[in-house]
């Protein structure tokens, strides 16, 4: 018996993708984690073990910035979970209603902000909320709520929440579309069976549809988590690398950018930057693991 001929075509088919992916994504990822264990002394790279992480977590100057960015990032994520995803689900529930007219039109229009770049979104909202231009105050004035107006992006206590809501405005289309897709797969017979038992309207949503789309809500949550913990562009476009006012909108992405690229008088430090990237990697990995092993496997899936 002869050995089967080596199938070179498999190698040829796999090679380009595996090479590019390994060289530009996987290798740099591990290299970044490795660089986090080094520091630069007199232009030489010196191995220092976990010292960078120690500086990051415990050194007063660094740790204050790090915990501030991490806390802000959690708040940013929380607003997305509490505002973006419920609105997305509600819109999807409305859109999936049978025989709703203009559904395609609404769907396409509501998705438009999602396709715009952060630069456009950041500046557009900055202009609209600007006290100089006065669109937001005069609109509030029209409904008699002018006293509510404040320069939201310029106040430390509101800026982060405002940016998170702008981001929600931009990305609500994604949960809407994914939930909409999930709702479309629910068979008509199940809903009709519910109707026979007297379950219609809103209670049909809570009792029949919602349990069936839980897996999609899980996917949306983890996508939101990963997206929020490497967010950067919106904050940078609207508030700059310093994430003002007074770092109140600083999140891990902007903190990493500042540290590793430098800003104004501070020189960039690739090793501390790598340490922050390492922390972000750990956080994202932890989130993904919680989702994969804690949530996804325990979620009840219904065979439709």
């Amino acid at each position: 018996m002869t050995r089967p001929r080596f199938r070179w075509h498999i190698v040829v088919f796999l090679a380009p993708a595996v090479l590019v992916y390994s060289a530009v994504m996987i290798f740099p990822l591990f290299n970044t984690l490795r660089l986090a264990l080094y520091t630069e002394i007199d232009q030489n790279r010196v191995f220092v073990g976990l010292q960078n992480f120690q500086t990051l977590f415990f050194d007063p100057i660094w740790s204050e910035q790090f915990w501030n960015a991490l806390g802000n990032n959690f708040w940013f994520f929380l607003i997305h979970m509490l505002v973006q995803n419920p609105i997305g689900i509600a819109l999807a529930a409305l859109l999936s209603h049978p025989r709703l007219r203009f559904a395609a039109l609404y769907r396409s229009a509501i998705f438009i902000p999602t396709i715009l770049s952060f630069v456009i979104v950041g500046f557009a909202w900055k202009l609209i909320l600007s006290p100089i231009w006065g669109i937001a105050p005069s609109m509030l004035d029209a409904v008699g709520l002018k006293f509510l107006f404040a320069p939201w992006l310029g106040k430390e206590e509101y800026a982060l929440t405002t940016l998170a809501l702008i981001s929600v405005w931009q990305f609500v289309g994604i949960p809407m579309m994914l939930i909409y897709a999930a709702l479309l797969t629910i068979p008509e017979e199940i809903l009709e069976a519910g109707e026979i038992d007297g379950i219609t309207g809103t209670s049909a949503f809570w009792k029949i549809k919602l349990p069936l789309i839980l897996p999609s809500i899980g996917i949306i949550s983890i996508l939101t988590f990963v997206g929020n913990f490497n967010a950067f562009d919106l904050i940078y476009a609207a508030q700059g690398a310093l994430a003002g006012p007074d770092f109140s909108t600083d999140i891990l992405g902007t903190f990493m950018y500042r540290t590793f690229f430098g800003f104004q008088l501070q020189l960039g430090d690739p090793h501390m930057g790598s340490a922050i990237a390492g922390a972000m990697f750990a956080i994202i990995l932890l989130g993904v693991c919680i989702y994969l092993f804690g949530i996804q496997t325990r979620m009840r899936r219904y065979q439709l």
């Binding site: 088919f13 992916y21 902000p113 715009l116 557009a124 990493m256 972000m280």
Partner: protein
Amino acid sequence: MNKARQNPFNTAAMHGALILYTLIALFPVFVILINSFKTRRAIFREPLAFPNTDSFSLIGYETVMNQGDFFLYFQNSMIVTVASLFFILLFGAMAAYALSEYQFKGNLLMGLYLALGIMIPIRIGTVAILEMMVATGLVNTLWALILVYTAQGLPLAVFILSEFMRQVSDDLKNAGRIDGLSEYTIFFRLVLPLVRPAMATVAVFNMIPIWNDLWFPLILAPAEETKTLTLGSQVFIGQFVTDWNAVLSALSMAILPVLILYVIFSRQLIRGITSGAVK
């Protein structure tokens, strides 16, 4: 369809809610676009009014045309996006075919390895990517961006395309083999045309994030000749903060290409999302 779920009051309330949200979604875009065609005085005096003969002005667009190199930026964005999509689709489809068609040792492992990148954002490796691009002299070239976006797009592309390639009939491929076609011919001539809808979905998913990315152009290719439209408009707007006409016009010009792409591809995009390609 029966009447239990139809009620005129509910229908009106549903349309009301949807119209309200549609207005919220479109309002900022609308304000930017109408004000970019107005004089400076009209922008401030009546920000919500349409431009009329009195207030119409193209001064902002003139500033943008004279000051910024928007055509170059647009061209750069176009080259980067099209080239990245080409490589994502070509390499992704080839790898997906290898994984879905052939049984070989390590098939499952290779699939898992390629799927890792779906959840882990490539930005985490930025420090080492920049170091590598500096070492290879690719920094401040469009190739740096194309390579990064290709690597970023491959995992999801392989995942989606291999799902679809499993559905291509074996009889067809075996018929090709009996006719003496090589594996490469079977892939390029028989399989690729059949998964074209899936390829379109992958392209549309990748197109918008690549076009809109700010992080990698800022770090890998900030030179004047390699600025993408997103980075270029960011820098331009930063310099002209006080010139409202110019800022509004620059924003409108940045919105327009994406909006046109969206109008062309929105059906494909929505079909892609709702067909469950990403589930």
